[in-house]
Amino acid sequence: MASPQSSQSQTPDTGFDSITPGHQDASACDAEVELEPAELIARHQNGIWRYLRMLGCDASTADDLTQETFLRVLRRDSFVQHSDAATSSYLRRTAYNLLVSMHRKQRKVQTLCEPGLLDEIWDRWAGKDLSGDTAVESLRKCLATLTERAQIALRMRFAEQASRVEIGEALSITDHGARNLMQRAKQQLRRCVDEKLWQNENE
């Protein structure tokens, strides 16, 4: 794994100028697909928003930075749409830089790993359709395959923001037991989502 970097000390101001659209995926540049701004936003906004959430943004920050990302890219004269994948990559890099920039401004120290590694994670889970829609939909379906106790634990954790102790109390297990239960459930979900994404890709 690449060493994490502090957003307060890294990513220079010139980060926004240092990437060229389309260069991320030059092999996919055979056919240029020029989308109108409205189409471009509709195509990529879910992906960028989820990418920002993946970076740890809360929903409101993700809303704001998604808007800023598109505005910055749309206003850049040098922006060329080579392909969906290249555009998505360019937008993600812009969003990443905006987030780092925001952290620096707010003097927050939050570790963010290198964009390349984040891209790998993104591609694994949400990059299949560039939006993450399929992955989230698959995850919803996979939730039904869990045991009832595992579903309760995860629901309490993610829907009700309950602590491990509270989850343990609700299920009459220790907090350590609750943690293990959720880890196992998440591992099962990962496998299930992987399978479903693989099936989708091969259908």
């Binding site: 959430r53 800023e68 505005l71 910055r72 925001m102 790993c113 994670i121 889970w125 993610f158």
Partner: protein
Amino acid sequence: MSENNHTAEEERAFDAMLDEAFGGSRPPDLSDQILSRFYNSDTDSDGTVQQVRQRKSSRPSRSRSKQVTVLAVAVTALAAMVAGVIALQPDHDITDSVTELVENAEHDAGGGNRPAVAGSGNDSRTQKPVKKKNPTRKLPKGIPMVVQTPDSDRTESELEQGDLPSSTNPDENEAAALAFVSAQVDAEMQNYWDAVGINPTPEATDEETVTRLGKILGAKVSADAVSEVDQLQAELAQSLNAEAIARRWLRQITNQRSGRMDAELRDRLVSEIARCIQTGGSFDKTVAGWLNGESENSGAFFSALAAGSRSVGGEHGMARSLAALTLNVDVRCTRCHDSYIEGTGQQSDYWNFFAFLKRSVRKDSDGQFEVDLGDNSSDPVFYELSDGRQRVADARVSAAWTSRSASEGYQRFQEFAKGLEGSSELASGVVNSLWQLVHGQPLRGGVVDPISAPNNEALERLEEQLTEDLIDSHFNLARTLALIIASPAMRRSVPEMLLPDNLWVASQEDTNAAMSAVDAFAAVLPPRVPLPASQRTDQVLRSLGMRIDSTGRSSLGQIGQGGTAPNVKRVKPLAADLPMKAELLPVQWLELIEDRESQINHLGYLAGQNEVPAYVQESVKSMNEAEVDTNLLLHRVWWLMKP
């Protein structure tokens, strides 16, 4: 790496998906917001975004933009002033004074703004950002004038320098560049202070202004944004800020009553207003949607207007708030009689409007408000004239309140809703309401009000500028709010005489002068936390010696009550603005009312109450027992009830 060989980033990514799968936040459709901002500020190129996100290297050029704009307005104003003076007073020898003005202006331009513009033209990276100081904002003092919009020649010349946004053409009824309008507002505000002879207090620091803004609006903006109106607009439109502003503005519109409505309805309404602020969407169409029932939040809107107890809200509260917001009409007096003081309102207009609302806005079986646009008839509404005669109301919106309606006014709700779209009445109502949100009183108050800015033509022009800009910008709330916040009035400091340390040593004359400046938006009051009714009552009683501590426990020292001496702990000081002495009545027209009870009732109506609340009546009783001077008593009654 964490357990199961997953990195923290992978865990976070998967947790984010799980959060969404369990019904957490989902990706919103931001197309409208992005496109609106993209097309609305197309001329800003990528500058606006950089402003939003702290790209400090771009600050100097933004500052220069406004400096040049201020200079442009100053020169135009000077030209208009010279022309006006010569035209109006041809027989007077004004050569010297005009020459002096011109020389001063040239000196300001040459010695102040021009070097900053030229010097930092294309070399901003090597220079520190130059903050705007007072001198760059000050225009030649003198005769109040109408600041003209720029002629094409000057605009073009400035465009060539690349310092002004390129979309200013007022003839096409499009909103002028924000920085330009902001500079006009600056100029008009200075004109106003000059005309009414008030010296504004020194500018507060950007940080102080940001802190004050946070307390007023609940919004967080950067210090940089205070002097950069484009950046300010962008930051106000961010989601959290938009929601905080929407929430407080709704309270403002409803005279603080929205806090008492159903929370779910309120949240829906707040979200819709916040979306308007975020996207720059047309608020006039939103209002029309609420009024004609097409909006899903139509019922929520009327619930907000009618929220609160009978003493403050209900149907009369709804009529009062709706008339103020949508028509910029003050109906506080005309429920009971024609407007004697202002001389503009008729009692019949109020009751006709009330009947108009009553006919079309009703509660359904679930107690929710709904708009009924059918040709329904309703029970006639009777009202009593001041001479005791009864009259039946004619359900309609008076033609005197609207500039677009036919001579008989609006008789149908749909016509009324449609007529408000793009109307100057709605725009001025919104402008005054937003101004009140920021400054605590409308831009142009009434003569009847205890606190009101001295009215003159400059103030009227300022209101017209903001109103026209709101219409031209298609009712972009964030833009108008940014203009209001960026105006010189927002950056004023607290007068020394009103600082807590000086409060007890200040002479009445000094205090009056400071309060006059506050009334004219040329100074601000010390920050204060709004006190709930119980604490305000407590403060009044404590000032009378009727309550020794803030716990409310009785003591031997209390008048008319027994008890034991309490341990006096944590005695809070009295509020800085609690009236302790008063030479005059809160408003002089109260002299025309003979009995004190009626005077108190009138203060209640001014405060937006339907009747004087019980806690005020109790305080009045205590003050009467303590033989408090009438003037001071009425000042305290106003202090207890004022919005």
